[in-house]
Symmetry: C2
Subunit: 328 residues, 2 copies
Amino acid sequence: MTKKSPTHELLSNLENFLAEENFGDSPKELYQPIRYILSLGGKRIRPLLALLSYGLYQDDPEKILGPAAAIEVFHNFTLMHDDIMDEAPLRRGKATVHEKWNSNVAILSGDVMLIRAYDLLLKSDHQYLPEVIQRFNKTAAEVCEGQQLDMNFETRDEVHEEEYLSMIRLKTAVLLGHALELGALLAGASKSDLENLYEFGVNIGIGFQLKDDLLDIFADQAKFGKQVGGDIISNKKTFLLIKALEIAKGEDLKELMYWLSIKEFDKTEKVDAVKALYEKLGIRQLTEEKMDHYFSKGFDLFESINYQNPVFHETLLELTQGLIHREK
Amino acid sequence: MTKKSPTHELLSNLENFLAEENFGDSPKELYQPIRYILSLGGKRIRPLLALLSYGLYQDDPEKILGPAAAIEVFHNFTLMHDDIMDEAPLRRGKATVHEKWNSNVAILSGDVMLIRAYDLLLKSDHQYLPEVIQRFNKTAAEVCEGQQLDMNFETRDEVHEEEYLSMIRLKTAVLLGHALELGALLAGASKSDLENLYEFGVNIGIGFQLKDDLLDIFADQAKFGKQVGGDIISNKKTFLLIKALEIAKGEDLKELMYWLSIKEFDKTEKVDAVKALYEKLGIRQLTEEKMDHYFSKGFDLFESINYQNPVFHETLLELTQGLIHREK
């Protein structure tokens, strides 16, 4: 007989923790945006990974709600600043902070969020604090590097597969790896488990981004939350486009370049045409294979760890498998 | 016979430390601005205060070059982001980061600087790390609060003296207090010395800002680095303008409001007229008295500490007295 999955209770404790956290009050322009962006929700994957990872070794995951919340606060800080840089009007269907207030508020409020993330890290068992902060800093700087690379790619003619994979590793995957290593570190896990959990997170993180790239183009519109084909419409350099540009020859390449170059077009027509090209060139299958490669590498690493609690092991597997098979 | 002042050697060690610090390399848009803004110089007052404060109790101030440098890196991070918000074209006579690169680079590069400040704090003796980070976080958030208040004041009709003093305390003074408490904390000084050094820094910090406000208007143009009267030209709500608006009545108030309201004017004429009004209303003397009040409160606190090393005590006095009597 297996115990009930701990996810629901952990998520509920985490939401309560975030709701009760006093980030500050005055001046209100600085602190309202912090509560606003955190209230927009999201799946809270990162803090959940930290809590579940801790639970692999120890029975009291609520003990690390502070540092787990730090990861979520940091993640939302990056969203607040990225949205300024990307001039994004919406985040989870609501106005972004720089739209609702202004860019200066979004810059400064984001700065305070980053500082508050360190406040939450301080709630770690102090014997681990130097290592917690050292690993957090490394990850945080890498996430910024990933965002800068992503911006650089927008204006570049050519981006290679390896560069793209390296960018998404930095921009999104290392934070998942860090969440897992943080939980395990605070639970006193072995160095080798720490490293394997970190690499598990990084590998599935890269897989998740490739899944995102695929869903944007091949999702079922009835189930997908936003417009299918958005990346095709905006010529976004996803894994699929990068591979298509690498593989396409002759007429196929000409057609792809045509759709990339025209300024005025019917959206559905462009999406359908590029999608058909991707299918013809085998890009969908190539991307799925690449994604599966990272997932299977990740799960091999996950299976190699010496966990104590099978319920949390099972829960972590279910959570990540659920993300792999999501349709939106 | 007193020993030579240690300032020169400490500053030289600090510059070497900053020059040799590896903030990162790639992508270059992220790391070049960090080295650029740090290379613009400045008096390095904050790290120097930390080093000298440590030297009041211990003989090896070079041991805390890392955390002292953290304060300088943090300070320059705030300058990088403030310059975006204030749309400032120049910093120490050179192009600001958002002008030389762009706003996105200045946002993201600043974010990494803040993270690197925490990396440098990690070089603190680990027994003090939780308290170092807790106090740093408190100060860092307060500096952001001060910047937000300063921006809010720009669009407000009325700002009271107490609000202004509270704003400059947050925006500039607490970081000087923190630099002093950091040095003393890492040297193992008593709680009461920590608090007194902190309050010494905060009080002289408020005094320095009032000195800045005075210099901007009453400096000797031959000795002053920038245009005298800049704050009058831009209607900046300094302590002097706030007091003048509080005190002026009848014709004086009418004249002041006239100069605040007209859009086209001869700069020299406006500066001379408002300056004459300030003199007539006794604003200069009032501001000097307020400044002296903070300086004398600060030095009383400084004299109450139980230091070990009289050379460092003397050096700290000389450094702060030098700043009080500066003419630019």
